[in-house]
């Protein structure tokens, strides 16, 4: 560096300025062909007085020890400059460059029904009347059937009709709560003696369909039929739409229940007292819904229980308890406390890549661009997954929207009463997650809004005791809670993100503490613990799950703090993540090291990188070695030694020629070494070698930047890139990195 004799570098202010005459080059300025104002704006005049007097306010003057402003350069530094410093020319663009906001198009696109409609209500395959033998409860069919067709506008208060033996409430919505008699009604003792385990409802969980994708017997199309019936009835609604068969033989349950889940059936079942409805209700009241062995044992698989567990807030708990106890009356829940989501915008699909092709390459070329859209795949979860995995996220968002429309939560349905199922919540999760992935944060925020804080009573299984008998916990996937919290930080409210994450963390910690004491997730007596070894393994698995969830929350917190640039806390948080994910220790330590580098704290970075070296020595794998080399390269970068950094990146490439990061970073180093052409060659070679893998936003951004630097013909080269992208990338590609616009 040239600053060896630093003492002289910044001349003392007393040294008189060279008089600021017109520079001799003044004439040159007249001839200038082109002036590019990199600063972007006019600057404060230099005639300002020096700051030392002006800067000390009166208050300081009164002070005996007056603060003095000190000149740090020879040029007059006006205080007025200070205001200009905060300017960053190019703030992060608001993510939704392409988001159209809610489209005025009023109605949900009819195509959603068009493809899979025509399943009449009575064809609901899911199962006949609630075939539970023991719980002598009556299942009204109305509940599940209500949400579709005409929205029940007239109904001011949602009524959770659990037991409607009395005259059906006069409701203006055209729906009649149908009385469905449980087959066991009146003959409970007899029935419970029979107890055919295969009668148990399949758990309404998606795992049935998606646990093992390929080998699954249950064809997605089967599933889909049920999914898009015009009167949408989820498979998981056992009582949905059943025309009140008084006494079907419980064994003859048709449809999808290929997988009975006999897990929890035996013990408590045997212990169940043969009871007529009346006494049973009393028992339930006594148990107050908190840890009813019947309920827990009934149809809730262990997996579900573990995954769905959540601790509702005070108010919600009250409602749920009321639902569980008030068998006879209706539970009134304020509309404000219900979740009434709906699509807020109809269609964000569209293909930015194609648009650009139309603009720059002409229609002919654009016509070649073929990507899957929502119409070209099966209208089901399978099609959805297909769209996601080939990165057509916009189309996937669209398909989610269609499926949700089929569920009665389509465009414009926000604020209308509806009911929720495991599947509808999952669909919402996927849709919102994809919106976030696409950077359409505003849109995600809009559609998240009706979900409130994800703690409303109707998001709990307990709210639908007849649909999900005995099942407990929250329908909201845990990942959706994370997403819900993280979204705020992308919208510029990281503090809100942190608050939400802390709430999630509190619940996770509480559940974990309960488990560690051998209790159930919600703190009740664990019914499984009594089952000896099996219960023990449940507990272990559950603790593992919740630990990893807690770790995930910590991860999000750390990321959020990083975004807030609160590096000290972020580093602390990443340290605590290591406790939950010890296998990620080297990566996390490297990450912390990079944070230090970003701040400029080279020494601390070095310390962390050394720690990484120690940790990876134990592992001795290629990955560990690469990590160490990568860190060394970054360290040299921090010391302004691009040549050495390049050497290390190249070393990684020798060991792992397909390492995209090293490849890209080596090319970047080359540019800083003044080797533009070499750098370009390296990046181009990389992209050509494996376009599927390397056509990444960051790589392309670097490439286009270098094209711009290289010559005036960057446009052609960018268009060539566009063509390459068109052949490989889905509609979720962020075209901004091509800098074509």
């Amino acid at each position: 560096m040239e600053d060896a004799g630093g003492g002289e570098e910044t001349p003392a202010p007393e040294a008189p300025h060279p008089p600021q005459l017109a520079p001799p080059e003044e004439q040159g300025l007249l001839f200038q062909e082109e002036t590019i104002d990199l600063g972007g704006d006019e600057f404060g005049s230099e005639e300002n007085e020096t700051a030392s007097e002006g800067s000390s306010p009166l208050a300081d003057k009164l002070n005996e020890h007056m603060m003095e402003s000190v000149l740090i350069s020879d040029s007059p530094n006006s205080e007025g400059d200070a205001g200009d410093l905060g300017r960053v020319r190019d703030e992060a663009e608001p993510g939704g460059e392409g988001d159209p906001g809610p489209e005025p198009a009023g109605t949900p696109s009819p195509s959603g029904e068009a493809d899979g409609d025509c399943a009449p209500e009575d064809a609901a395959p899911s199962s006949g009347g609630a075939p539970r033998q023991d719980a002598a409860r009556e299942v009204p069919g109305s509940e599940a059937a209500r949400p579709e067709q005409e929205p029940p506008v007239a109904e001011p208060v949602p009524v959770c009709t659990i037991f409607s033996q009395r005259a059906p409430p006069a409701s203006g919505d055209g729906f009649e709560p149908q009385m469905v008699k449980s087959p066991s009604f009146g003959g409970a003792s007899e029935a419970s003696a029979r107890t055919p385990p295969q009668v148990v409802q399949p758990s309404p969980s998606l795992s049935t369909f998606f646990g093992d994708t390929a080998a699954s017997h249950s064809l997605a199309s089967d599933f889909f039929d049920s999914f898009t019936t015009s009167a949408f009835i989820s498979v998981s609604n056992p009582g949905a739409g059943s025309p009140a068969p008084a006494s079907p033989p419980p064994l003859a349950v048709p449809g999808t229940e290929g997988r009975p889940e006999p897990v929890a059936m035996r013990g408590p079942q045997a212990a169940a007292p043969p009871a007529s409805p009346e006494p049973f209700a009393h028992i339930q009241a006594v148990f107050a819904g908190s840890d009813d062995p019947f309920a827990t044992a009934l149809s809730m698989s262990e997996m579900d229980r573990r995954n769905d567990a959540w601790l509702p807030g005070e108010a919600t708990r009250g409602v749920l308890r009321a639902v569980a106890t008030q068998q006879r009356g209706a539970v009134f829940v304020d509309k404000e406390n219900l979740t009434m989501p709906g699509l807020r915008f109809d269609n964000i699909q569209g293909d930015a890549v194609k648009d650009l092709m139309l603009r720059f390459l002409g229609e002919k070329a654009a016509a070649k661009r073929q990507v899957l859209n929502a119409d070209s795949v099966e209208q089901s979860f399978v099609g959805l997954k297909q769209l996601i995995s080939c990165r057509n996220w916009r189309a996937a968002v669209d398909l989610c929207g269609r499926l949700l429309t089929a569920h009665g939560q389509g465009y414009g349905k926000s604020g209308l009463l509806t009911s929720h199922t495991t599947d509808s919540l999952q669909l919402w999760f996927v849709r919102l997650a994809l919106l976030v992935k696409l950077g359409l944060f505003q849109n995600a925020e809009m559609e998240f809004e009706p979900f409130g804080n994800l703690d409303q009573p109707d998001l709990y299984y307990e709210y639908y005791p007849h649909v999900y008998p005995g099942r407990r916990g929250s329908m909201v996937p845990f990942s959706m809670r994370i997403l819900h919290a993280e979204l705020q930080q992308y919208l510029g409210n990281p503090q809100e993100s942190l608050d939400r994450l802390h709430k999630v963390k509190t619940v996770c910690s509480k559940i974990l503490a309960n488990l560690e004491q051998g209790l159930a997730e919600d703190g009740g007596m664990s019914s499984v613990t009594q089952e000896g070894r099996q219960g023990c393994s449940y507990l272990v698995a559950s603790i593992r799950l919740w630990r990893s969830r807690l770790g995930r929350v910590m991860y999000s917190m750390a990321n959020c703090l990083l975004l807030m640039k609160d590096y000290v806390l972020a580093v602390e948080a990443y340290h605590s993540v290591i406790k939950y994910y010890p296998e990620q220790e080297p990566q996390l330590l490297s990450g912390i090291g990079r944070i230090s580098l970003q701040i400029g704290d080279i020494k601390t970075a070095e310390k962390y990188f050394q720690d990484v070296e120690k940790v990876t020595q134990k592992l001795d794998g290629l990955q560990g070695k690469i990590m160490v080399l990568m860190n060394s390269a970054f360290l040299h970068l921090g010391q302004n030694n691009f040549a050495e950094a390049h050497r290390f990146f190249t070393e990684i490439l020798r060991m792992d020629p397909r390492n995209a990061v090293a490849n890209n970073n080596a090319a970047v180093c080359l540019l800083y070494l003044g080797k533009l052409k070499d750098s370009l060659r390296q990046l181009e070679a990389m992209v050509q070698q494996d376009p599927r893998h390397y056509l990444h936003e960051s790589v392309l951004f670097n490439l286009t930047t270098m094209y711009e630097l290289e010559s005036s013909r960057s446009m052609q080269k960018k268009q060539a890139l566009l063509e390459a992208v068109a052949g490989k990338e889905g509609d979720s590609f962020n075209t901004q990195c091509l800098k074509l616009a």
Partner: protein, 401 residues
């Protein structure tokens, strides 16, 4: 020929947006798989936001005084003919001077089509205000025509730091300097070095770390960096070197204390360095005769005599003094010994030590006052009040404690 210029600030690390799901969720492993396939995520720790992928600077950004301005200059032959005798010259015009930044001033003999001449220039920015990078290219075409063009790139250099200082004069000759350094940039700033380079008259001790369990710990704790607009306060203690302290007359009036040398780093080790101008302070005026304390107990017993030692220095330039000492009692302080005694002649810049005895009749924090020195030559009297304070306690309490 075409000329392109790009400022080379440090590259940045790509951050991705992690979206995960659990196995039981609808997409199954799909989201996680997508993140694993994304080359910008960290292998094995995909949720970690801060990736390893470097991206080139996306805009010119801000440049601050003391930082190094680096720029890539590329001259590309866009034509289809060979060009000869290319000379690329890069100058930086500041408000006061013009600097040549090109690494070499030799002309390149020829440039084939689609080839380029690359140069990376560096310059440590030493002035605030408008800078203009002037790039001039001259060449000869195949037809022998001499061509010349230039481009101007204007940018502003901003002030990165705000430094404020405050001096405290101790009763001894030490001087304490408090320096507040504020980060005026828009990025976090790691202070690599903030040191006071004293002028020849002083020795400096930095008071910015404390010893904890044998280790030197910075008073700033683990917060090693300054957020934008954050201010940090540094403290230094300056002691006059012995040879200057002896000659009392020298440190007088406005003196130069030294200057602060500040080195900081920002994104990925982008370095900046500044020095302040010479810091000056007004040494406290002591008049002609200075009375300073050499020894005094901090706590004394009520109504019990105690001793103090004073040092009397003749600070005048060339006047010999003949001093008489008087001691006047105050409400609480009672001097023991003879008032009005002769101290003898005192030559310029010399001093004498004086042991005095006194007692206090009042408890609490008492100020020692009431010393008078009279120069019999000039008939001038110097009064010394509030020389120091002692804590007076009753003897009974003292025993207890």
């Amino acid at each position: 020929l075409a000329l392109k210029v790009m400022r080379l600030t440090k590259p940045t690390l790509f951050t991705n947006i992690p979206v995960t799901c659990e196995e039981k969720d609808l997409p199954g492993d799909l989201f996680n798989q997508l993140m694993r396939d994304d080359p910008s995520t960290v292998n094995g720790a995909e949720v970690l936001m801060l990736g390893e992928m470097l991206t080139l600077p996306q805009n010119f950004g801000n440049i601050f005084l003391g930082e190094t301005f680096s720029s890539y200059i590329s001259v590309h032959n866009d034509s289809n003919q060979v060009v000869k005798d290319i000379l690329v010259k890069a100058d930086l015009q500041t408000s006061s001077q013009r600097l040549n930044l090109s690494a070499s001033n030799a002309a390149v003999a020829e440039l084939k089509p689609d080839c380029c001449i690359d140069d990376v220039i560096h310059h440590e920015v030493k002035e605030i205000g408008t800078h203009i990078l002037v790039c001039a290219v001259s060449y000869t075409t195949q037809a022998g025509e001499k061509m010349y063009f230039r481009k101007f790139f204007k940018f502003q250099v901003l002030k990165p730091l705000d430094v404020k200082t405050k001096f405290y004069n101790a009763e001894t000759d030490e001087v304490f300097l408090e320096a507040q350094i504020q980060n005026m940039t828009t990025s976090p700033m790691f202070m690599e070095k903030v040191s006071l380079e004293p002028s020849i008259m002083y020795n400096v001790t930095e008071l910015n770390s404390v010893s904890q369990a044998g280790e030197c710990v910075s008073t700033f704790g683990s917060r090693a960096y300054l957020q934008p607009m954050d201010t940090r306060q540094y403290l230094y203690c300056l002691k006059p070197k012995n040879e200057f302290a002896e000659k009392a007359g020298i440190i007088k009036g406005v003196t130069v204390i030294g200057k602060l040398d500040i080195v900081w780093k920002t994104n990925l080790g982008e370095r900046g360095r500044l020095q302040t101008s010479q810091l000056q302070r007004m040494a406290p005026g002591y008049g002609d005769v200075r009375l300073s304390l050499e020894a005094i107990p901090d706590t004394v017993n009520l109504e019990e005599p105690f001793h103090i030692t004073c040092k009397i220095t003749n600070c005048s330039s060339e006047r010999t003094m003949d001093l008489v000492l008087e001691m006047c009692n105050t409400n609480s302080i009672h001097w023991c010994g003879i008032s009005g005694r002769q101290l003898g002649k005192l030559h310029p810049s010399s001093s004498l030590c004086l042991a005095l005895t006194l007692l206090s009749s009042v408890q609490g924090l008492q100020s020692i006052s009431g010393l008078r020195l009279t120069d019999t030559f000039l008939k001038r009297t110097y009064e010394y009040d509030d020389i120091a304070q002692v804590c007076v306690v009753s003897s009974a309490i003292k025993v207890e404690s």
